[in-house]
């Protein structure tokens, strides 16, 4: 297909031709084109269907504000929905598909919605899908979900990588139009570290889209010269294809760089996009302005676009959108478009100027005091209806219409910290509010200075002020002479009497919808937005917000600033979630922490489980075992029969030293440690200040002023943080030092009747019961290597924990297994660990759930009232000390063959399964291979007085109701004889 609408000039490289496909048809374009400019050059105006009414749509803009021309770019796993054709850089081999249409763009079945537009008005969902309630989930939601949305997801994994990066600078300049380039030259020449970022692939902003000159050069040539000078400065970083998406605290800005979006696929090793965090001392916003339309009946046909964009297509891309072009304007900038197009040889059939007076364009049919009443053309504009000043109407043939309702400064980023823009009557637009974002200043069109001269001057001025505040001196600027036309505008927002006149074409919000919202009293701007969906979705109302506000102001009879303002939030334009995620995807989302025995366990075919960041052995299957229970039952029985080994390195370990170490532990634990003898361990219960149990574990006294505390695996970090808080903030003069040694020691539990025999083969010292009694602790050696030994037990068996420096952990597990061979030693995983602690009646995470007290756990006596400790006072509150409160109990099924279900609640026999009859719940449940039936722990009201009671364990989700008996939580060796063996 030929580029029938291509005209002369423009900043495209005609020496090269690029091939691309849209909806399966081949087209040609040139480097420098966007997908939109290339399609328009090929005479394609129809690029999509609207969201709600499925009306035919083409681009209305030439930039990132585009609401209509959204396409699915690329194919296969790289396909990306809702890509704006107006900023998609053309490359050879590009493929794109239109979206939100079926079966084809030219014939879309859901266009029937347009016929029913009187039903699909503002608040349609709220009014229609009301009843019956049973339809909400099953009928309405699937229908809405299918009809909603624009592009489709492939559901294939994105094959590209994304990165995050960090940059630091003195001055960040956002936008490289005339103001940004001027600011960058001033700042760069001073030696300041400057970052100049622009969303476009070519710096220069509107200079690339205009015909006026700077000095004796074309605007784009001046921009090229400025960019060349800036590139030569080592202190300046130029970032094209980079959108500053948001302003965050303390001079930090988020920016997304589309590193490879303009290539068919990223170069090897390069990311698709990079999300930069830019730390700036000062920032300057030179983001330019965005034109807004005037609403009139059927103003959304392909071929109707913003006048400045029509001009940009002609000047920058050498494209005439239509063969007969009309302009509808309320300001002088629209006249500029008419002049530029005519000088390019485009047939300008009429300029419809809503203003009565002003200059008369020479050589063009300039209709003053006129309005566009409507348009015609099924899939694209063919004619417009004009009402002249005298009231007569006329149909004028036109295939392109440029509309200019004035320009809105791009204040977006200035309101990211909630600052509200302020209204300026002289330019009929909002400008940035004052200084809410520290160290950010605004220049050029973004500040409401809409001439090129003004942009150059204010860019330079603002850069000078920023440099001065940083203690840097600026050299004299050498600004070229440039156009300085005043803004002449007579605000006109919509043509009176129009109804289906589009305000927000992306969300299909018309003047009629705003009238309806007003009629139904949704007059607050925030309500208006949510009720009509005005300004939502990918374009965030860049072309529509102010227009919608103005229409509402007209209806309420208030001024625009009295009606409200529009506040923008980040991001400025859509940011792919992939870019925000960076490399943190899949396996790289978080690191794994590996235990010292991991390699050995892997060799043995262990099954691992994630415990926080840790990977722990869950169980270790042997040949012939078919289910996890086979392995776990074997590990438990073998440990209780002879000896088992478990890697317990993951438990938090904290060395606590200092002359006040004992006194400190007395403060942070509910029980007492200052009285603990050197060489002994004690179980400790740590409370939160609200009296609930925070953590538990054993603490050993290794010397007069030296303790080793262990925490649960889950709370290792938070306990350490809490202890630092207590040490630094609550008792700042205590002589106590903390260091986390979790990763310094590889620690193994050796449990079972033969534990001592096994260990005695490994350690150098005598560890007989007399030499190393129950709850003993001490420094020992293993073949001369320093080690720590603790005689503590979680399983209820005779048990020790032995610690060696981590780098010897792998050697240690191998040595233990070798020494244990004669005892048939097994390694047991976290499942068997859980089985044995429940058999013994020890609490763990399920019981330490943050809402349990020491009393609930049957450990109330551990809370010493003789000393001050964290949580002691509030643990004595009335509701927490009830005699009949929840207590930890053991549970077993009356029928030993019966299976219990996790999550069951305890009920008396014969009562209804209702919340008011709930007597407690099951917290931990396992099958005990030792006892041959299920056992459980749970919290039961007045539980300690109900041992022996027959009750029911009811699980309404599983549909089970099982007879149970309440028993002691200590299922094995309640007297602790094995521990002391």
């Amino acid at each position: 297909m030929s580029q029938s609408n291509r005209i002369s000039g423009g900043l495209i490289d005609r020496s090269q031709t690029l091939r691309f496909h849209f909806d399966g048809l081949p087209y040609l374009g040139h480097p420098g084109d966007t997908l939109a400019s290339a399609l328009l050059a090929n005479g394609v105006r129809l690029m999509g269907r609207s969201f709600k009414y499925h009306r035919p749509r083409g681009p209305i803009s030439a930039g990132s504000e585009e609401p209509n021309a959204l396409v699915e770019l690329r194919s296969g796993a790289r396909q990306e929905p809702n890509t704006r054709a107006t900023v998609a850089e053309l490359f050879d081999g590009l493929t794109a598909q239109s979206q939100n249409r079926w079966p084809s763009l030219k014939f879309d079945a859901l266009a029937i919605n347009d016929r029913f537009n009187s039903f699909l008005t503002a608040g349609f969902y709220y009014k229609t899908f009301m009843w019956p309630a049973s339809f909400w989930e099953k009928v309405y939601e699937p229908i809405i979900r299918r009809a909603a949305g624009l592009g489709s997801l492939t559901k294939l994994e994105d094959p590209d990588t994304y990165d995050k990066g960090f940059l630091h600078c003195d001055i960040l300049i956002i936008g490289a139009g005339p103001a940004g380039l001027s600011a960058a030259l001033t700042a760069g020449r001073s030696g300041a570290r400057v970052i100049l970022a622009d969303e476009d692939f070519r710096m220069g902003g509107r200079l690339n889209a205009e015909t006026f000159e700077l000095g004796d050069q074309a605007g784009s040539a001046w921009a090229d010269g400025a960019v060349a000078e800036l590139s030569s400065l080592p202190n300046v970083r130029l970032m094209t294809r980079t959108t500053v998406a948001g302003a965050f605290d303390h001079g930090i800005y988020g920016a997304v760089e589309r590193v490879s979006d303009h290539l068919i696929e990223p170069a090897p090793g390069k990311p698709r996009q990079t999300f930069w965090r830019i730390y700036s001392q000062r920032a300057i916003l030179t983001g330019g302005a965005t034109e807004r339309p005037i609403a009139f009946e059927n103003n959304d046909r392909p071929g109707i676009m913003l006048a400045g964009s029509l001009r940009a297509y002609a000047n920058r891309w050498g494209v005439a959108v239509g063969d007969k072009t009309a302009i509808f304007t309320n300001n002088d900038d629209g006249l500029r478009t008419a002049r530029d197009l005519q000088s390019k040889g485009v047939d300008v059939v009429a300029v419809i100027d809503s203003r009565e007076g002003g200059e008369l364009l020479p050589g063009i049919r300039h209709l003053r005091g006129a309005e566009v009443m409507g348009s015609a053309g099924r899939l694209g504009l063919s004619s417009i209806t004009v009402r002249h000043a005298d009231g007569k109407t006329e149909v004028i043939k036109a295939t392109a219409l440029g509309v200019s309702g004035g320009w809105n400064p791009n204040v977006n980023i200035t309101s990211h910290h909630r600052s509200r823009p302020i209204w300026r009557d002289d330019i009929a637009a909002f400008v940035p509010g004052s200084g809410e974002i520290a160290n950010l200043s605004v220049a050029g069109a973004a500040a409401g200075t809409l001439s090129t001269h003004g942009a150059l001057v204010t860019g330079d001025e603002v850069a000078r002020a920023a440099l001065a505040s940083l203690g840097l001196t600026a050299t004299a600027a050498n600004l070229p002479k440039a156009e300085d036309a005043p803004v002449r505008i007579t605000p006109m927002w919509y043509v009176k009497g129009s109804n289906r006149a589009w305000i927000d074409s992306q969300n299909d919000v018309t003047v009629k919808d705003i009238k309806l919202a007003h009629q139904e009293n949704f007059t607050s701007v925030e309500h208006l937005k949510r009720y009509t969906t005005l300004g939502m979705a990918t374009d965030q109302g860049k072309t529509s917000n102010v227009l919608g506000l103005a229409v509402m102001a007209g209806l309420t009879g208030k001024s625009i600033p009295d009606t409200g303002t529009t506040v923008y939030r980040p991001p400025y334009t859509p940011v792919a979630l992939g870019a925000l995620g960076g490399r943190g995807r899949g396996q790289e989302f978080k690191p794994f922490r590996l235990t010292p025995s991991h390699k050995w366990a892997q060799e043995q075919g262990a099954v691992f489980v994630e415990v926080g960041y840790w990977l722990r052995t869950q169980w270790l299957p042997k040949a012939g075992e078919t289910t996890w229970r086979d392995s776990v039952d074997r590990e438990v029985l073998a440990t209780r029969k002879s000896v088992g080994i478990c890697d317990v390195t993951t438990l938090g370990k904290i060395d606590i030293q200092g002359t006040d170490a004992g006194a400190f532990l007395d403060k942070v634990y509910a029980n007492t440690f200052s009285t603990l003898a050197v060489g002994k361990c004690r179980y400790g219960l740590m409370l939160r200040e609200d009296g609930m149990v925070f953590d538990d574990g054993t603490t050993a006294r290794m010397g007069q002023n030296e303790y080793v505390t262990t925490t649960t695996t889950a709370n290792a970090v938070t306990v350490f943080r809490h202890l630092e808080f207590c040490r630094q903030v609550l008792w700042p003069d205590m002589d106590v030092q903390l260091i986390s040694t979790t990763e310094a020691w590889a620690q193994f539990s050796v449990a079972g009747p033969n534990a001592r025999k096994l260990l005695q083969k490994v350690v150098d010292q005598d560890i007989s019961d007399a030499a190393f009694p129950y709850m003993g602790a001490g420094n020992i050696t293993v073949g001369g290597l320093r080690a720590r030994l603790f005689r503590i037990s979680f399983s209820g068996e005779l048990a020790y924990e032995i610690a060696v420096p981590t780098r010897y952990g792998d050697a240690m597990i191998r040595k233990l297994m070798e020494a244990g061979a004669e005892f048939d030693a097994v390694v047991y995983g976290t499942e068997a660990l859980g089985v044995m602690r429940i058999e013994k009646g020890h609490v763990a995470g399920n019981e330490l759930n943050g809402t349990s007290t020491a009393l609930n756990m049957g450990l109330g006596k551990m809370v010493s009232r003789k000393k001050d400790s964290i949580g002691m006072v509030l643990s004595q509150r009335e509701g927490m000390t009830r005699d009949d409160g929840l207590r930890l109990v053991g549970v077993k099924p009356v029928n030993p063959a019966a299976e219990l279900k996790a999550g069951s609640h305890f009920l008396k026999t014969g009562v209804a399964a209702k919340a008011e009859n709930d007597d407690g719940w099951l917290t931990s449940l396992v099958y005990s291979p030792h006892l041959g039936h299920y056992i459980a722990l749970g919290y039961l009201k007045d539980g300690s007085n109900r041992i022996g009671e027959k009750m029911r364990a009811v699980n309404l989700l599983a549909g089970t109701d099982t007879e149970i008996e309440i028993v002691s939580p200590h299922f094995i060796d309640p007297e602790g004889e094995r521990l002391r063996a």
Partner: protein, 94 residues
């Protein structure tokens, strides 16, 4: 956000863990204070729109607890002190 650590200079807020109101420094003594005193200490907080003294912990740094005075409206950080110094100045010792 950037927090100017009194020892380490400007650090990104991501290195820190936030706890909350610096009134947590003023913990009553458990042997003399009432349950009500502890209730107020544990649960009651002011929620000012403006300057707020709060505790931050440099967990991915030197493990200092800091008292950061921050404007909750603008997020401007007005002062950063070592919490230990503040605690001592408020009369805390052992």
């Amino acid at each position: 956000m950037i927090i100017h650590h009194p020892i380490l200079g400007p650090r990104d807020a991501q290195e820190f863990v936030y706890l909350g109101d610096a009134s947590l420094i003023g913990r009553p003594d458990g042997l003399t204070a009432s349950i009500e005193d502890f209730h107020n200490y544990t649960y009651l907080r002011d929620n000012p729109a403006g300057a707020h003294r709060e505790l931050w912990y440099h967990e991915q740094g030197d493990r200092s607890w800091l008292v950061v005075t921050r404007n909750t409206v603008t997020h401007e950080i007005l002062q950063v002190e070592l919490a230990r110094d503040v605690a001592r100045a408020e009369g805390r010792s052992k």
